[in-house]
């Protein structure tokens, strides 16, 4: 019996491709975000509202991750932005090489902002770096106010929290103050937005912040 020392990161292959993606984004001055949430929190609706607000003023490209369908890419394509669907066929998260392959479909010269919508899942995507500048976590009020405590890794690894479906607050046992406090306890540096895709509340604030960030990368 002999022992062979290995000492290698399990996800080193993914991390290496993520590094290449990041390099590509830097070369093309693209601000890339990785949007994560549980299923049904409203990632695609938020994306639609954001694109509506941009109204073609920002060079956006979208990568949609989905387990089975291309429904999301069809929804996004209506806004006249280049969109590529990655169907993971059961896979619970996007990996860097999937994003790398999807990028071949875009003319990156006109892209300033790349929005990657991950598969709806608050566990698995937190381990897989895609090369993004930051993760944006969407938590909806219907999920309750304890989500950040149940999925600390995702909230810790994200830079922005969007609390969505705030229009439903009067009908729910969700305390938005508690939700905020729980999230900030896990990650005090989170930037928090409150939105409703139904009423449009908070969308302008979030979209303008995103534009400012994308512009500062491109400057």
């Amino acid at each position: 019996m002999s022992v062979i020392t290995i000492e290698r990161k399990v996800l080193e292959k993914n991390d290496e491709v993520a590094r290449q993606n990041r390099l590509l984004f830097a070369q093309h001055k693209i601000f890339a975000i990785n949007v994560v949430s549980s299923p049904g929190a409203g990632k695609t609706s938020l994306l639609e509202r954001t694109l509506e607000h941009f109204a073609g003023r920002v060079g956006v490209a979208v990568i949609e991750g989905d387990v089975q369908t291309d429904i999301d890419a069809q929804r996004v394509a209506k806004y006249n932005v280049p969109a590529v669907q990655i169907v993971t066929r059961g896979g619970c998260h996007l990996e860097a090489n999937l994003v790398h392959d999807a990028l071949q479909n875009f003319d990156l010269t006109n892209v300033r902002l790349l929005i990657i919508e991950n598969v709806g899942n608050l566990v698995c995507p937190s381990n897989y770096d895609l090369g993004e500048a930051m993760k944006i976590v969407v938590a909806s009020t219907t999920e309750g106010d304890d989500k950040p405590l149940k999925y600390p890794a995702m909230f810790r690894n994200s830079s922005v929290l969007i609390i969505n479906k705030i229009d439903l607050l009067p009908y729910l046992n969700c305390n938005i103050g508690t939700l905020r406090a729980n999230a900030l306890r896990i990650n005090p540096s989170l930037t928090v937005f409150e939105t409703s895709c139904t009423t449009g509340a908070g969308i302008a604030e979030w979209a303008n912040w995103l534009t400012a960030r994308a512009t500062s990368v491109n400057a």
Partner: protein, 119 residues
């Protein structure tokens, strides 16, 4: 449930370290797993044993070293264990923490033995 793809990555790494000429069987794989790595050990072990059938890793034990979540408190300077649901300094309750450990997911080493018969 990304344990399957994690198990596959572990197998890929181990296979790269096996001696080319000799017929060896992997007896155990040492893994370092952080408390906040987002991995369910039982699920990982199940996936690992399923995908290693018919490979030199068949029957190998997954020996997991669990690494606790620890952090340095920027407020009081203490290093300590952090409760993942509290995320506060165990000493002063401070919230400004720099994580020291707890996210690890590394293949440490393997134990191999020459397989019987074929030589």
């Amino acid at each position: 449930m990304h344990e399957l793809s994690v198990a596959q990555s572990i197998v890929d790494i181990v296979l790269q370290h096996l001696p080319k000429e000799d017929h060896v069987a992997v007896k155990s794989v040492g893994l370092r797993l952080g408390e906040m790595a987002g991995i369910v050990p039982d699920s990982l072990e199940f996936c690992f044993s399923a995908i290693t059938q018919g490979t030199p890793l068949e029957g190998a034990a997954l020996e997991i070293e669990h690494v606790p979540l620890t952090a340095h408190c920027n407020d009081c300077g203490v290093d300590g264990n952090i409760e993942p649901t509290l995320f506060a300094c165990p000493s002063c309750g401070g919230r400004s923490l720099a994580i020291l450990s707890g996210r690890e997911m590394q293949v440490k080493d393997i134990e191999v033995e020459e397989s019987e018969g074929i030589r």
